[in-house]
Amino acid sequence: VSYDNATALQPGRQKTPSLDSSCFSSPPVNFLQELPSYRSIARRRTAILSRDKQSGTLLKPTDCYSSRLEGGITENLNSQCIRKYALNISEKRRLRDIQETQMKYLSEWDQWKRYSSKSWKRFLEKAREMTTHLELWREDIRSIEGKFGTGIQSYFSFLRFLVLLNLVIFLIIFMLVLLPILLTKYKITNSSFVLIPFKDMDIQCTAYPISSSGLIYFYSYIIDLLSGTGFLEGTSLFYGHYTIDGVKFQNFTYDLPLAYLLSTIAYLALSLLWIVKRSVEGFKINLIRSEEHFQSYCNKIFAGWDFCITNRSTADLKHSSLRYELRADLEEERIRQKIAERTSEETIRIYSLRLFLNCIVLAVLVVCFYAIYIATIFSQEHMKKEIDKMVFGENLLILYLPSIVITLANFITPVIFAKIIHYEDYSPGFEIRLTILRCVFMRLATICVLVFTLGSKITSCDNGTCELCGYNQKLYPCWETQVGQEMYKLMIFDFIIILAVTLFVDFPRKLLVTYCSSWKLIQCWGQQEFAIPDNVLGIVYGQTICWIGAFFSPLLPAIATLKFIIIFYVKELSLLYTCRPSPRQFRASNSNFFFLLVLLIGLCLAIIPLTISMSRIPSSKACGPFTNFNTTWEVIPRTVSTFPSSLQSLVHGITSEAFAVPFFMIICLIMFYFIALAGAHKRVVDQLREQLSLVRKHRPGGREWHCCGPLSHLPPKVYLQAWPSAASLIH
């Protein structure tokens, strides 16, 4: 559309920018310059080259650009993908024909370059299309998204991510630890095990009495299956099975202790990297924002409606949730205003009340941790009794006592926290976040308390210190296996609880609500809502157990994978048949960030007990690959000492203080530099915003822009009306 046509446009009548036949009279290059998206590209390029440009006429096609620019821009245009243009298909077709005729003017080399880049792009697309078919549970998650919105869909995507993560962790452990052993055991390769007995060792440390009994009650099999004792103890499920120092192949000896340790480090590092990579988007957005609250009004108004909703009832729910959200946000604004206007006496009163309530929260946490401590000690002491002296139920209760106490604590404390936070007088959004944070901490810290209790029991003997073997070898001849058994029990119990809650609480509730809806109590209670935070905490709890337990029980990630797969289907069924969507819905972007943050907290809390047990507690001498080392970590220094001396001195240099301190200082300096840079950028952004509003204010009539040289006598409004994206050029 040349500017002759533009004057003919009546103001106020928007015509979708399209190309009509008058364009073909002008040369092809000019025609291409009319396209809105092209113009925004041109604007970006001219911003870089603007120092050489004469005048700012960005609207008149022919005298706008110097020929140097034209050539460059045309080339840029041609390499752009056609689909990205905001035109309809027939116009794109014409554009493509023009592009192809233009190609004839190019050299052979350019033609070949363009052709190969196009075919490469097409190949990538086909590959991407193929891989989307491989995506696990794609159809299920899509249908959930259509019916329940993107908040709940993000929970199921998160569950799928955990299934894949556990599968990859298991593959790592399989490759590094299980495969050589299986190859040797089943005589697939011509290899043999290497066993090196340690010379100066007290015979008491290496005694490992595996209970082999004659007559076994049949229910002891069930107990063994549920608690990992008995017939399961010596299997490859637990650490104790891997009492091998190496596997001797034809050309080399495979160092199993080193491989075992490296597999642990590898899966922890992989988990960390994968989680951080997945959450980079959420972090970036969070860091850019200067506002306190995560979701802005722009986001809610323009991106508030999920266009993929197809269901009438879901649409009604979305409307009501938007109503709720927008009203709640404005309410929060008002409360924040009120808080800012508090008098100093009120502030003092509120803060002292908060201090008191936080002490209560701490007291609740301490009580729970102490209860878990007592339960663990009780369970460990009484587990050593003979099986046949106990009744079946009592036996199981003792074995599962720590798990039961942890689960009870995790049911009760969220209720207490929700009650307490009402009195603390925070804004509603902050209330929700603080409650969730407290519940997260509670859930994940309970596992740590359990592991530390076990650790303290393992390293405490009757006479105080354990000088003989470094650990309590009477009660725990093979303590890693026993820690592995505790983790195994936690995982099985967690799985049973999730199934039981779904079967015995969710489904009956739905049946009651459907068939006995006349009772007042049932009406009050209502149908189940899919509570996202609780469900996410549940699966993060399971994943934390898996991370801690994978060192002590190498097959645990495989069990976790199966468990999460079953949980996916169970939760999906529960969602579809028993839940109604809650009026207050989580947003997908907020959810992804929240889930990965909680998972990261779980990973950090899992690394702590692992590092302490690997480096502080002496490894058991009766079983496992580390019988010849003092602690598990000792494998690394011993391996380093077998390196050539130059490499050894390099490693020693890197790990010494002379290297670490300057390295740390340089990292601090770099961090301060980036913080200062971010601050400077923010100041520049503020200044530019002010400048924009000043420029607007100082132009009388509002809408005139100085840039149009030869065209400044024309009312720019005409252009602005026709081309929304052309208006961007003016800016």
């Binding site: 009548r13 928007q14 979708t16 809105p36 993908c81 056609i82 689909r83 990205k84 905001a86 309809n88 298909i89 027939s90 794109k92 077709r93 493509r96 299309e129 899509r142 993107t150 988007e281 959420g282 957005i285 924002r289 802005s296 009004y297 722009c298 986001n299 108004i301 323009f302 991106a303 508030g304 409606w305 999920d306 266009f307 993929c308 197809t310 009438r312 879901t314 649409a315 409307h319 938007l322 109503r323 927008l326 009203r327 404005l330 604004e333 997908a588 972007s589 907020n590 924009l692 509003s693 420029v695 607007r696 509002g702 009306q721 081309w723 929304p724 994206s725 208006a727 961007s728 800016h731």
Partner: protein, 185 residues
């Protein structure tokens, strides 16, 4: 509802549509099937058109509060040809690039079609989202004021395209929510 002449799509046409839109093969064929079911009898699919009502009552758009605006933006002369429907599906597909979605979102949200999203447009958007008559003037004014304070950079009480683009680039939910993937498959 009559059926169009049941021509299979030619392979070259399919390839061309794949190159010109962001849709996959299966999606194009799906839309082709849906289009054939709805268009009037006796016409070749490339010449047949659908009315705005027919497109508005597609399952994908039936409950969308902005369906009239979507139909207006993507139709030509108040009717939809097959290629118009494909173009619409391409913009809303998962693989579409952000700049394309932002461009069309701006056109959809510009109710009075003056090239800017002004207060009147924002109030209409809010009303469509809330979908209730029980909304006070104050609430709408508050909402518009907040939206403008966040994204109006030059203080003229309207959003131009670049301000809208800037706001949507920062918005974390835009790409996820501006998607439709159920076209009758």
């Amino acid at each position: 509802m009559g059926q169009c002449l049941r021509y299979q799509m030619h392979w070259e046409d399919l390839e061309e549509y794949q190159a010109l839109t962001f849709l996959t093969r299966n999606e194009i064929l799906c839309i082709h099937d849906t289009f054939l079911k709805l268009c009037p009898p006796g016409k070749y699919y490339k010449e047949a058109t659908l009315t705005m009502d027919q497109v508005s009552s597609l399952p994908a758009l039936r409950v969308n509060p902005f369906r009239d605006r979507i139909c207006r933006v993507f139709s030509h002369n108040d009717v939809f040809s097959f290629e118009d429907v494909l173009g619409m599906a391409s913009v809303f597909s998962e693989q579409a690039c952000p700049s394309l979605k932002i461009e069309y979102a701006f056109r959809i949200y510009d109710f009075n079609e003056n090239g800017f999203i002004d207060e009147e447009d924002l109030q209409r958007i809010a009303l469509r989202l809330l979908n209730t008559d029980d909304v006070s003037e104050d609430l709408l004014m508050d909402l518009t004021k907040h939206v403008l304070s966040e994204s109006d950079l030059d203080n003229d009480n309207m959003l131009s395209f670049s301000e809208f683009e800037h706001a949507m680039a920062k918005s974390p939910d835009f790409m996820n929510s501006f998607r439709i993937h159920f076209w009758g498959c």
